[in-house]
Symmetry: D2
Subunit: 246 residues, 4 copies
Amino acid sequence: MTTVTVWNEYRHERETDVVASVYPDGIHTVIADELADHGFETRTATLDEPEHGLSETVLEETDVLTWWGHDAHEEVSDAVVERVHERVLEGMGLIVLHSGHYSKIFRRLLGTSCSLKWREAAETERLWVVEPSHPIAEGLPEYVELSEAEMYGERFDVPPPETLVFLSWFEGGELFRSGCCYTRGRGRIFYFRPGHETYPIYHQETVQQILANAVAWAAPGDGPVSTFGNSDPIEPIDTTDDRTVH
Amino acid sequence: MTTVTVWNEYRHERETDVVASVYPDGIHTVIADELADHGFETRTATLDEPEHGLSETVLEETDVLTWWGHDAHEEVSDAVVERVHERVLEGMGLIVLHSGHYSKIFRRLLGTSCSLKWREAAETERLWVVEPSHPIAEGLPEYVELSEAEMYGERFDVPPPETLVFLSWFEGGELFRSGCCYTRGRGRIFYFRPGHETYPIYHQETVQQILANAVAWAAPGDGPVSTFGNSDPIEPIDTTDDRTVH
Amino acid sequence: MTTVTVWNEYRHERETDVVASVYPDGIHTVIADELADHGFETRTATLDEPEHGLSETVLEETDVLTWWGHDAHEEVSDAVVERVHERVLEGMGLIVLHSGHYSKIFRRLLGTSCSLKWREAAETERLWVVEPSHPIAEGLPEYVELSEAEMYGERFDVPPPETLVFLSWFEGGELFRSGCCYTRGRGRIFYFRPGHETYPIYHQETVQQILANAVAWAAPGDGPVSTFGNSDPIEPIDTTDDRTVH
Amino acid sequence: MTTVTVWNEYRHERETDVVASVYPDGIHTVIADELADHGFETRTATLDEPEHGLSETVLEETDVLTWWGHDAHEEVSDAVVERVHERVLEGMGLIVLHSGHYSKIFRRLLGTSCSLKWREAAETERLWVVEPSHPIAEGLPEYVELSEAEMYGERFDVPPPETLVFLSWFEGGELFRSGCCYTRGRGRIFYFRPGHETYPIYHQETVQQILANAVAWAAPGDGPVSTFGNSDPIEPIDTTDDRTVH
């Protein structure tokens, strides 16, 4: 069974009434409950727990980590970011949500600024599926409408996605690459745009389906573990050359 | 005219006779001379210069940076890595050579360990062109033979190349993705495998052609400079919603 | 110098007043004149010429072919499609424009239906650059606005573009992958969405810049010509096995 | 349960003793038995059956089709190729094996010549996994050794694979992109190089594992079925413009 750790910054919900009214127990609780309903083993972790709730043990037991952060990206310790990075390279899946685009871990894995345009005006977003055969598109309609969304607009400064699953249309005239797949090491990464703290996006059933699909897609397999470093030849070759400098 | 800065760790050549005999004035001097012969404006920079020779002014004037390092990756200061990283995102091209796969800047841009298998046995490498229409393959034969090379073998822990131009066959039984193109921000990156310090690879004319092609390909253009951050709507929309939380 | 052949179905302009008022001498004439102004050697060819104007000689002399068709795709002879296909695999660039998505040659090169959604309502299209470092984005602003356009909407049934340069936003709620790069054989292919016959899209200067950029990008280089078929071993191996069945 | 149809030209086995000694009941029988052992529902179809065994009913009931052909590609009727093509675009998976690279259906789906270099000398092939997190690499070691193989060498004239899973090293000095994933319409396509008729490749357990992995990966999902053609606007727009020309 796939084990998911749902990470949340969990500040807005405790500090702001409008957010608390949408996610009274935190975004992480809603997502974890949904994923449990879809058959995953779940736990949660938040910024203000020791080690942000992401101890070595927790990460070792995690198949897929989901990440929601916004206001306190810089408070995430470099040591934990390093630990998460290593686990992704080892094979742990990572689902980065909405404002998590600016998280240390996402920028580190992608190597770019991950900047974008944004606007909060509760405007219409229409999330179009452009790769209908991708596992993350299972069970979806041609598009998903979100009646009130924060706008994220291009240019999204990320490397070209290995697979682009969703594109978003916004009422105000912008568009966005909203569902982007990447591979880093043995780990699979999915960035999913929707999900602002003041709009009830994660309460929407189709969005929950997408998150469950993404977790299933990002779960590690048992492909070969690569060996690195100095290697003996497999074929017989002359190894008497003495020019080696290490 | 494209301005190239050729960066070299420049330690082996000063410390080891066998390397000095191949590159008496340093790898950087050979590469810079070749690129000048191909019509580029060149300068060099090395690890032991102040700021590793990569001051803000130098980088601002650099269109394409080539990078050769091996033994002292950790001595490159984080501040300079940060500066180079920012310049790549702004559009500076970067050509990473051979053992530069483990450089801080390459790992930071790619987000992976950049690990690989290796062996120094002066064995045959055959560099096959798999994407003959790519600008970096201009003027090349179907394959280039390097009679004495260090082996680098898969798994090469990098993200899937956006374009894979070269594949290497090695006598000892391994193969390698030897010419890999990436985009990060507005910058183009090319990783080129051949080039060990104890073999005269960069004296070989076809290799020089490849380096010149790579520089031409990686040179920045004048595409749009993206604007990021809060954006007014382009289309008329209702902006009176008051739920905004920053 | 790059030689461009501008192909046009050239029926609507002769049969329909509203089209004739926008392109009195045909879409091909406007595009060819623009490309000549950008420094290319140009000629034109149209459906009702012998061999559709695409004789073996013409194609041999063509570096880049641009293709606009709409109503008479099925009238293009299979022999000419075969000839164009072979020239693309040999290295000729191909720029497919707007309703050319349904042309025989485009579907043949891509292997899919190339279907899409469409609507003619003279609505706003906003063409966003998502890959600003690509040569086809040279000299462009962040987005190009087309005040009156035919809508093309996703799902666009094409293989995932190797590089996605443009995305279009439409007033009516759809979006589209509007600038798509592909490689087939040694040939480069660019699909560019804008350009309906009843709207003066190709009279717009920024669109002309994009077409010129695309032609420059698609022009053939002189990378290696691949050899195929039975090959002698390069390394010494035992070739006495007699199980061969051809 | 995933239903697989294993298609085979089935001529060499009936006409040539050396092939009959390796595959007495045909390559298709061996592959179908293996896939059944891996839990798939299987049937077989061969060239000399009516409609090559690929009636509309058979294809409708097929989730994944595997294709082995060599000597009689041109005897496959265009009508059946068209039918298979349409089913792939609808979502049927397709696994193309070895000399199937020259089949009508593969060339049609890819749009290129699919040419390559080849040699039959029972030489060593070493199949390296370059994308260990891909589902087709499940349960594999870092490389698979095939002691007697036909050589296929680059340039392999195919579009750049969307995912490159395997690379082959050959004793005689060549290499090859041996495991290539593509998407066409809603269908997933995997090309797998190993498998010559005179060597017992498909009797090898690791190869069987790869085929089973590929079938599982290529099986259709239930993503959205795209609608195409004329579309009403989703957002309210002015639709009174009368310039429409169909």
